[in-house]
């Protein structure tokens, strides 16, 4: 019998993502849960506080679609390509059109900005329930002057100034993994980013997996279980969830798409045309995948590189 946690992405987003939530869709370049992002867009969730170290294309899309009230981030670029244009349109002072006065009603997207260490440290502090996290960074940068959440305290031992960041506790985190059992015990390998920290820091966790496996597979290699079932609320079997991002050992990053995104997002209108076709125009991830040519998917498949098995021993 299926566990009560297993459900479709549609059900998971409907049940666990509420308007106004602070949401953290995890994955540092690797295993970014695009299928969840698209479902959030389709369900027209609004006023979300979107947190991610690297907003990447997924948050560029959610910003363009009007889901975001605020962005908490540390690097808002298109990795390896350049800018995130929807993010830039939402934050840059608009240039006045020729012969017209500068617009006066412009309101930028609210932002809260950290360094990578600062934001991953906030999740770590949230996950481990620390009051705040001291760190050897920020001092000497203009970031603290522009983000009141980055504070300086006196080190009680040395008397030196030390920078601190507050814990981050998302209302909901979405984490995609290679394989999990039906209760949400999850095996992750490759770049692990902030997956574990996000899952432990969040109040609710949607976990999606390329493969749902038997519990015995998980128990055969417990060191690889970064997320245990009891922090997980929804388990979604979602193959190709991360495209155009990648899943180590399953499919490669669609770098071609990352480069095309720069062109697609030249204007808000062209961005929304993409959205109409690839997000609103499909029911779910399976339909989205049907639209991608077979040859392309074959090109994204890896050749195997299998690790040497380890022996846990038994009596």
């Amino acid at each position: 019998m299926d566990s009560v946690k297993t459900m479709s992405m549609k059900e998971a987003v409907s049940k666990y993502v509420k308007d106004g939530d602070l949401a953290y869709l995890a994955g540092f370049t690797h295993m970014i849960p695009f299928a969840a992002g698209h479902e959030i867009i389709r369900q027209k969730k609004r006023n979300l506080v979107l947190a991610r170290a690297t907003p990447d294309i997924i948050y560029d899309q959610m910003i363009a679609a009007g889901c975001a009230k605020k962005l908490i981030f540390s690097y808002a670029g298109n990795p390896g390509v350049g800018s995130l244009r929807c993010f830039r349109r939402a934050t840059e002072r608009p240039k006045p059109k020729e012969g017209q006065p500068a617009p006066t009603d412009w309101k930028p997207l609210e932002i809260e900005e950290y360094t990578h260490f600062g934001l991953s440290g906030r999740l770590f502090a949230g996950a481990t329930n620390m009051p705040f996290l001291p760190m050897r960074s920020n001092i000497g940068s203009d970031l603290p002057a522009n983000n009141p959440a980055i504070k300086t305290v006196k080190d009680p031992f040395t008397g030196d100034d030390v920078s601190v960041v507050p814990p981050l506790r998302p209302d909901v985190a979405v984490v995609h993994v290679q394989r999990a059992d039906r209760n949400g015990n999850a095996h992750i390998w490759g770049i692990t980013g902030e997956q574990k920290d996000a899952a432990f820091a969040a109040k609710k966790v949607i976990l999606s997996a390329e493969e749902i496996v038997d519990e015995s597979v998980i128990r055969s290699d417990p060191n690889r279980t970064l997320i245990p079932d009891f922090v997980v609320h929804a388990v979604v079997h979602e193959p190709w969830c991360a495209h155009p991002s990648y899943v180590q050992g399953y499919y490669d990053r669609d770098n071609e798409f990352y480069m095309q995104w720069d062109e697609v997002t030249k204007e808000h209108e062209t961005t929304m045309k993409y959205m109409d076709e690839w997000v609103f125009g499909v029911e779910d991830r399976a339909e989205y995948m049907k639209k991608i040519p077979r040859e392309k998917l074959d090109r994204l498949k890896f050749k195997p590189a299998v690790c040497t098995p380890v022996d846990f021993g038994t009596m």
Partner: protein
């Protein structure tokens, strides 16, 4: 004499600054090419660390992003994002960090956040990422950048990553554990930083470049070392090895 592009020149000169057995925090693009070049030449035991948490990578292709799967397969270790910054960077295990940015000033401060005012920017750039953390914690910062007057400014619009701030005295007061900026490698010259004041100082001119050419592209009165050296021209071996690292010309121009 061998032909090379200005980008190839920057990468080759920067690669010469790396020593065998050093640990280097690598970003994509020019830094990645410089590190891989050094590893194939004078630094076979260079330990390449990526801010995505890949340690001792041995990439089978040219990565487009710092989170590319090729940095994982065959790496020495993979850790989480928090662990990379906490154990490796803040833990003091990284010798060299490569940085670039939209603006660099005469004390080696770098702006990768905004052009214009923070709250209503003319251009919104990606932001720090790990750059500020790297600048604050590595022993040597090496900056690779094209030498353009718009990039070199007397004072950056936004100090994303601290160099020597307003001078070395102010910087010492901050008690950062890193060693601060070490070198700026451009397509015209190599600049290092004055021991006393922390001011950027021209120390070596690349082939065919005169002091006036550098000054023309630097909007403040650039400090020039008492004895300016001549950068040796890229060798055939350096050029061929570099081109072999990026045969598809993903980055090389």
């Amino acid at each position: 004499m061998a032909e090379y592009s200005s980008m190839e020149l920057r990468i080759i000169v920067a690669a010469r600054e790396l020593r065998d057995h050093e640990s280097v925090l690598v970003g994509v693009g020019e830094p990645n090419l410089a590190a891989n070049l050094a590893k194939k030449l004078q630094a076979p035991n260079l330990n390449m660390v990526y801010e995505s948490g890949a340690i001792g990578s041995n990439p089978y292709r040219m990565p487009l992003s710092i989170g590319d799967p090729c940095l994982v397969t065959g790496a020495k270790s993979i850790c989480s994002m928090y662990e990379q910054f906490a154990y490796y960077l803040q833990g003091g295990k990284i010798d060299v960090g490569f940085l670039g940015g939209a603006q660099i000033d005469k004390f080696g401060n770098i702006n990768s956040t905004v052009i214009g005012a923070y709250n209503s920017p003319k251009v919104r750039l990606p932001g720090s990422g790990g750059a500020c953390d790297i600048a604050s914690n590595v022993k040597k910062i090496i900056i690779i950048t094209p030498h353009e007057a718009r990039r070199f400014v007397e004072k950056v619009d936004f100090r994303t990553s601290p160099g020597f701030v307003d001078g070395k005295a102010a910087w010492r007061h901050l008690k950062l554990q890193g060693g601060g900026p070490y070198a700026v490698v451009t397509d015209l010259c190599t600049m290092k930083f004055d021991e006393e004041t922390g001011e950027m100082t021209l120390v070596s001119l690349h082939p065919g470049v005169k002091v006036e050419d550098v000054q023309k592209n630097t909007p403040w009165k650039l400090k020039v070392a008492a004895k300016v050296e001549q950068t040796p021209a890229p060798t055939e071996k350096e050029i061929a090895t570099l081109r072999g690292i990026d045969p598809g010309k993903i980055y090389l121009r």
